[in-house]
Symmetry: D2
Subunit: 312 residues, 4 copies
């Protein structure tokens, strides 16, 4: 079933808020997100700043101990200008590294939908040629956490959240552990472009038209977000410091390969050791994100359960 | 000038050891390295285990405050078998993650120089099809550190060392700050193949035939190793934890762009923010390695000094 | 004014829950807390496990930008037995350190109110003489965080939470930044005894009779919890890793000395550098706690605003 | 046997340098150290800046696999003025915390040997009353590391080094693993006073008269420095980040209690969990130091081997 949903409220935390829509497993939802600053397609301020979320969406029959599979079908900017900040986060520079750019500075990008590129509006001479392709992604999405928690959209955790990983783009399926009845899926913080780490605290921040499928996988325990695209399966560790994020991502991948692909632990170790690739998501937030990727072509034949999501 | 050098001693630390050869800036050196376990092309144990180094090579006229540019011209296995370990380092798994593979386990890879691939010698059924291309790289190389230090080849630092970054492959130039007269360059620990992080503590460990050019860039202060290949310039932060390694790598890149490419700090911030890519080198050693990369095609025109090494 | 309050609901997160009692600034509240496992003075299970909280208490006239001063007047066990766990958290042991004690193991302590000591109920021979004084403290308390968040009582942050610092004992005043109207103060997780770090994930867990004063200091910005006792003023950094916790605690102390004690930054630096003492609170939770202490006797004369709380 | 030794060379790294004196196990050595800046009792610059070391001392019959017990018998300033720096290290402040004190600033302390106190030479008005007791300690000492390494006296490790723990004072015995023949003991960097963390990068830096006993304990494997004083046994973890330093210190204490005091692992866990105290040594250097302490009065009866050093 398909749903078209136009939000009028937005949440600044991911939690057990009143659902805005109830859907069935497998349903496709078309909706919109506002930009990280709370402005919509017309540039109107409709929510506070800081990754306001569309949702939550309640999925029938989702219970703690299930997995929510979110397939990102479409993400596309619905406004022709976005913004970025020019200050590298002090936490990714050496302590004491001079960094006098004001945190409040903003520079705008203009999107050209003929060439599908974005350029700085009023560039300094040195940046006149800075043009990036539009490559839309979702910075912040996830499900309500356990213990009645509501967690700020400025950070991330086992429930997802502000991971700012540029692999969360159309064609990717993300998997989240379900902690509460209905899963309560939230989505927001679209970027027209972003590099590794989101070290400016921003990509090109822009409101989006988004379409996604929500599907429940019953009785499937995962501890951290997982995902897959055409080429890779991957896991996300969302925590500070990076040294711990890489532990969660790697352990979750090891669980995936041993529990779902039927590999022995030594075999899984070797396979990961030979082929693992790590990507760095957000290194700006209170929680950092490291992605542990394995190329599908190197994995053993798997039944559908290994990929969690039957549809893929 | 070209040199052919056959080592008979190997050092287990990078430091101010007696030079084995004196060369001039720009000279090309052909030599060999033993494998990480101290075995040579014939499989003979000629050095202790733990990344024994060939060298040090003394470069005329190199003084503290200069930079040593090392261009890796050729790296190729000189033996048809290498080894790996099947245990993922406990430090990249969650505390308490069960990990019963003995640290002493070893599995061998056989290299096929017709197909330029490597395969496990006696694979378990699940790994029978595991075959990787030969993609040779250097795990550990660098220059004598300051203060009369000699630093174990099990770790890394501003002087280079055991960075285990798979980008240190033929065609890459690495730049090291010179701390002592003559620079005293060491090289070893070749891998026929390695994935991100070297989380098994090993790639495919193998002795190599290596050819490299050593060139001195006078009066050029860098604080951490830098490098370039055809597509990228990059910097390396070598330290624990990862959160600090990324700081050094990013700060060093910022210094490079502002000091050598003439960018203002806000412009450099934006350019890095838009295009930076991070790779993870070694996350096994006492010091971890993060690489900060910028695509050359996105950088402003530079004079040769920006690339440090005139020859490239 | 004094209030006596007997709770019948307990929250597993600190957030904007329905207040259980409305009080005025300066009021004294007598209430009880259940143990970390959710059991009350009679041993009845009245809440889930995991630091259930009594409250929240709404303080009239408390607004974001104020400070809530909580003076712990009395904390005393209201049951004669408590529990502890015998497994050191794997995160404070070297990766791979063998640690086969089951996480579910429990050992009980019996309290003797004549000698005011606690002893293991069925000790192994080697621990027969293990007797500790009853030294009651509060493990978890704090105020509702910003952005509509509710944060698990298993962790901590700028809002307080599960800091497990043994300095939170009778006679101590704690200061929390107010994020929401009414402040919404929560309290729970009493320990009859605890050493540094709470590395077993438990002190001697026990329900408590608690009495505390809640007082609002208007228009006073603090960024992290602060406190004072007879001898020290102190600040708390609550975050992972420890390296960042110590940054917040130290920066908050520097802000305190420069903003409230009127010291120049160099003078504050020297004073901290000469006299600072660090304590380690919780190193078990998702967020760790480091305390930065300064002896009052070494501080300049201050007006009451420096100590925040006029009453002390 | 007693030795009086007057150094004329000083090393800036701890390593396998030429010994300055050969002693027997149990010998008492009287010597001097210069201050961290390389100046001697007369204020003459006799070594470079950065914790120059007196030694190394070769101990007969010391072999890898033994332990060197160093009992600090006497440490006392041999000059009446020392120096400190007024800048808190940026690594212990929040990223971006303004901290404009120049790194090169110095302020002097004058020692008064009648009152055994030290005061700032030209204090600002706010610091006029700043007077600290003389409480001498050794910042940097240790033994030559393995693999032929020489490690800068700016940092620390399993071999000891620049730990800057104020517990290394007269009456304390420190234990170091022996890595090379003769142990090769170095000592320097005395402080007349220092608080936790050495967050200014300095205590009150001063040359010292030092007397210490060196004793070899045969065939005793320890992995990190240990120590004891009248009240405590303790272990030191020397590494970045703090999160790992606390792991080494705690694991080493657990090994001590199980291997030498004969406690089962669960019993040792409980005992540590009930009584552990952590101190923070250096948080300024490339490696940080955390001390794990256990009160002797809470430990089981032990034979001398538990305390390692028969003499105590």
């Amino acid at each position: 079933m398909e749903h078209r949903f136009l939000p009028d409220t937005y949440y600044m935390s991911i939690g057990s808020h009143e659902p805005v829509l109830e859907v069935k497993s497998g349903d496709l939802i078309h909706t919109v997100t506002v930009d990280a600053g709370g402005r919509d397609r017309k540039g109107n301020q409709v929510a506070p700043r800081g990754n306001p979320q569309t949702g939550p969406f309640y999925v029938d029959n989702a219970l703690p101990g299930d997995v929510l599979a979110v397939t990102l079908e479409k993400i596309w900017p619905n406004r022709n200008h976005g913004f970025c900040r020019p200050k590298i986060a002090p936490n990714v520079l050496e302590p004491g590294h001079e960094n006098n750019v004001p945190s409040s500075d903003i520079f705008n990008f203009v999107l050209d939908f003929d060439t599908n590129t974005a350029s700085i509006e009023s560039p300094s001479p040195a940046l006149e040629s800075l043009t990036v392709p539009i490559r839309p992604m979702i910075g912040c999405f996830g499900v309500a956490p356990d213990r009645g928690q509501s967690i700020s959209t400025a950070t991330s955790g086992p429930h997802g959240g502000n991971m700012d990983y540029r692999g969360f783009e159309p064609g990717t399926t993300a998997y989240f552990p379900v902690f509460v009845e209905g899963a309560l899926f939230h989505i927001g913080d679209g970027h027209a472009w972003q590099s590794d780490g989101e070290i400016l605290g921003t990509g090109i921040e822009i409101p989006m038209d988004v379409s996604f499928t929500l599907e429940i996988v019953k009785d499937k325990l995962i501890q951290w977000p997982r995902g897959q695209n055409f080429e890779y399966i991957f896991t996300a560790g969302n925590v500070r410091p990076l040294d711990e994020a890489i532990q969660h991502a790697t352990s979750e991948m090891l669980r995936w390969l041993t529990q779902d692909y039927g590999l022995s632990q030594p075999d899984a170790n070797i396979l990961i050791g030979m082929y693992v690739e790590y990507d760095i998501g957000n290194v700006f937030d209170p929680a950092y994100t490291i992605i542990c990727k394995m190329p599908k072509s190197k994995l053993p034949e798997s039944d559908s359960s290994a990929l969690i999501h039957i549809g893929i």
